[in-house]
């Protein structure tokens, strides 16, 4: 770790810089240890990126060390060479806690307490080479990754533009090899030949990885060059139009993909679609009207149970409607419940509202689960035998068919949400979000406005619940946990509060990706928790913010910098 040479002239100021690099390394190292102890690393280690060479778990640890290196290099105010050495230091320091953990596992068995600290993990960390060599290699690997990270951070943009897309493409091609291979196998000739060259039966070949890296890197370079070659006096492209184009292409891909990619992708995308629906609903409440609703899952449950009761072939049936009749009833009932839900909490604001709605949501769950409501709602056993929807003689039984139902519903809902956003009501919601008192003073009917937010938000969730019920052909109370509310909250936070494309982006990133990485399983909630913290800290406007919101947040930063006390926001000043 003493690999950093102190340049003679810089002896005095280098000390804090070194300290900073070490601290950066330690922070990243702590993160790596956390991921290891909770078992994420070993879980990711089960999946190859490049068969026999690099697993996703190893790549994650290397990426952490590289991140430490890049950050240490970015922070320092020294010469470029010294910065890269700082990166090396930070990378090595980031690996040190893991090395200590490996020593610990080697000395004592902690498995009785920490279930993830298994011999397998030790073997992974030390590359199966035994403790001494393995741990030396671990630190060397950290240092190397830190060095690379720092070097990349210091290198010209042209290099970054090539390396990052290249690396991303390799990771995607390697991690999703199963899906990509399945998709490519459907075609004869050149496509399949390319597949056979890139992939072995188990996954990506080293040769394939190099090819993909090189091709993507060249592509990235070419795109970058073409952009730069545009004449300087040409009018700058409208960023909004560019974003719309990208959104349009993404949607088109989403819409067409399942038809080609088979039922597994169809199922995943259908789930994504349901969350998009719910996300749009909660977005009306939180994003536009500023009402943080943690009981949102209740509306989803109402939609699902209504559909179940109206269509089921089991003894719980109230009526035997066709799905297409039951769905609007479910939506209407959700609206009604939304309004009833909103009524008592009309006067509750800010963080108290969050807890009150959470309580309401829990009440709904407790009632649904209880024996008290069991004669009607089936209790813990739930309601079974919900038929799939049919159009004429066709039963929409396959996930792909149901995906298109979801897509159509989401399309209609998106149109409604988009029109609402720019309507008089949408403006009133935004005024309400920004300052309830001022909004009221301006003549906005708070009661009507809030109840409409709850009711319309609930309509979206009810629609999602209705489709969910027929997708599973059964409903259980355990499907309507608070977790669902948190999932939806996380996805609109990630996408950007108040932003429709943000909802789609958030749903794809938070619901779709973990679903494709099946072993990710329950770890996704760990990831959601982290995402909420990190997003709130680094990018509260989300990844794809609405224009209004972004302007507001940036203006707010300025006012905050000027005077934190005088910010006119509804929740407690402080």
């Amino acid at each position: 770790m003493s690999g950093v040479h102190t340049p003679p002239g810089l002896a005095a100021p280098i000390h804090p810089i070194l300290r900073r690099a070490v601290l950066t390394g330690l922070a990243f190292g702590a993160g790596a240890v956390h991921l290891t102890v909770v078992g994420v690393v070993l879980m990711l280690h089960q999946r190859w990126i490049v068969v026999g060479t690099l697993s996703l778990g190893e790549a994650t640890l290397l990426a952490i060390a590289a991140g430490a290196g890049a950050m240490a290099a970015a922070n320092a105010g020294t010469a470029a060479g010294a910065r890269i050495m700082l990166g090396l230091l930070a990378g090595a320091v980031a690996a040190a806690p893991l090395a200590a953990l490996a020593v610990l596992i080697d000395l004592v068995s902690l498995r009785a307490i920490f279930i993830a600290l298994s011999p397998d993990l030790l073997a992974m960390l030390t590359l199966g080479l035994g403790p001494a060599t393995g741990i030396a290699l671990l630190i060397a690997g950290g240092a190397g990754a830190g060095l690379l990270g720092a070097a990349l951070q210091q290198s010209p943009r042209a290099v970054i533009r090539a390396v990052l897309p290249g690396a991303t493409a390799v990771v995607v091609a390697g991690v999703f090899q199963e899906l990509i291979q399945l998709m490519l196998q459907q075609y004869e000739g050149v496509v399949n030949d390319v597949r056979a060259f890139l992939y072995s039966w188990e996954g990506l070949n080293p040769a394939g990885a190099i090819t993909i890296f090189a091709v993507t890197a060249l592509l990235g370079e070419a795109v970058g060059l073409r952009r730069r070659r545009r004449p300087a006096h040409a009018p700058p492209r409208d960023p909004r139009r560019a974003r719309m184009m990208r959104a349009g292409i993404a949607l088109l891909v989403l819409a067409v993909l399942p038809a080609f990619a088979g039922s597994y992708i169809g199922q995943v995308l259908m789930l994504v679609g349901l969350y998009i629906l719910m996300g749009m609903g909660l977005n009306l409440e939180i994003g536009l009207a500023g009402l943080l609703d943690l009981g949102f899952v209740a509306f989803f449950a109402v939609g699902a149970y209504t559909t179940a009761l109206l269509t089921t072939e089991s003894a719980h049936a109230l009526l035997h409607l066709s799905y297409w009749l039951a769905m609007p009833v479910a939506v209407l009932l959700s609206i009604l419940v939304g309004v009833l839900f909103g009524l008592p909490v009309l006067g509750v604001r800010g963080d108290y509202l969050a807890v009150a709605t959470l309580g309401l949501g829990e009440i709904v769950r407790v009632i649904v689960q209880s024996d008290f409501a069991a004669p009607l709602l089936g209790g813990a056993q739930g309601i079974l035998e919900i038929p799939k929807p049919r159009i004429g003689p066709y039963v929409l039984g396959s996930p792909v068919a149901l995906f298109y139902v979801t897509l159509a519903a989401a399309g209609v809902a998106a149109f409604v949400a988009w029109r609402l956003e720019n309507s008089r009501l949408g403006r009133a919601w935004m005024a309400l979000r920004d300052d309830e008192d001022v909004a009221q003073a301006l003549g906005i009917n708070l009661i009507q406005c809030k109840l409409l937010a709850y009711g319309l938000g609930a309509a979206f969730a009810g629609l999602a619940g209705s489709i969910f019920a027929t997708m599973l052909t059964s409903v259980y109370p355990s499907s309507f946990q608070l977790l669902i509310s948190i999932n939806v909250l996380a996805l609109i936070i990630v996408g950007g509060m108040g932003s429709l494309p943000g909802v789609v982006l958030g749903a794809v990133a938070l619901i779709g990706l973990p679903e494709l990485l099946r072993e990710f399983g329950e770890y996704r909630y760990l990831f959601y928790g982290a995402v909420l913290i990190v997003m709130m800290r680094l990018r509260p406007e989300g990844l794809w913010p609405s224009d209004v919101r972004q302007r507001e947040l940036h203006a707010r930063d300025e006012t905050l910098a000027l005077d934190a006390g005088s910010d006119p926001l509804p929740v407690q000043p402080r």
Binding site: D351, I367, Y523, Y525, G529, I533, R574
Partner: protein, 348 residues
Amino acid sequence: MARMGAVDVALWGMRIGVVLVVVVGTIGTLIKGRYTAAQWFDFVMFGLTIGSIYAQIALGYTMVYGVLRLINFAHGDIVMTGAFAGYFVAAPLDRSGFLQNHPVPGMVAILVVAIATSTTIALLTERIAYRPFRRVVGLAPLICAIGVSFFLEQTFRGAFGSAVKSYPSPEWQRASFNVIGFNVPGIDVLVIGLALLFMLVLYLVVQRTRMGKAMRAVAEDGEAAALMGIDVNKVVVFTFTLGGVMAGIAGVFYAFVYKQVYFFMGFTPGIKAFGAAVLGGIGSIPGAMLGGFFLGLVESVGPSLFLDGIGIPAPYQLRDLIAFTLLIMVLIFRPQGILGERMAKKRA
């Protein structure tokens, strides 16, 4: 007020509905006379026990809210971390028979480890997750706190597994006394007694020490306190320490009473204890204690007293329903709580 006609009617309907259920249910239950005096005594005893635990958790909420105006959504999970840490001491001690033969040093060891863990984690969350939001307004701090809550739960799930672990229950805990014909479980006496003791200590710390005085000053007016030379950061750290200590104790007791630990165990008592804090008047320390005991009693006695009388089957399943109804009623009708007039003015 006249403008709020329809809504007022609905709110009044809600109040009357709840009161009706309580009154009709109570009368019905008493007429049926299905429960003996001993059973009622058991309900009350259990209510006080669980209430003393809620009171300790509620203290953490109320102090943090007083100082930072932040709902520490993850506080219930801090309780969980204490319970887990205690478990990993209690289980081997129980297996070796030490806990059975030496209850006092055994319990001290469990509590010390639990308190150390929960306090460390409380301070870490404050430093990493909450401090950057010190001057941020709006929903961001609360959303961050929700994130912290999930992060802690899932970290523990990943590190220690998702299975429910059964907490040791040495024989002396199952001992009971006979007081004027009623059966008093020893564990209840222990939990309530220690909880009262710890809360008294906490109250004295807040009322009598210099740091406690600083804390009260920051709760009153943070900016003025800072201008008077009080180090607000120190006060915040002190507050989270006190909350963490109380959470650790509460976690161990909660686990001893319910005899199990799992990663999600802190969530529901956390939310309920927040309700207790609001009920007592958020920011008020005696209020949190009162609110905790009240909530525990209502939750324990309520299902049998209110719900059995109106003919609801298996009313104990609806215990959480009563707790959450109380929570919502308080948030809607009396957000300033019983003892919290001061804070109410700030909220309005």
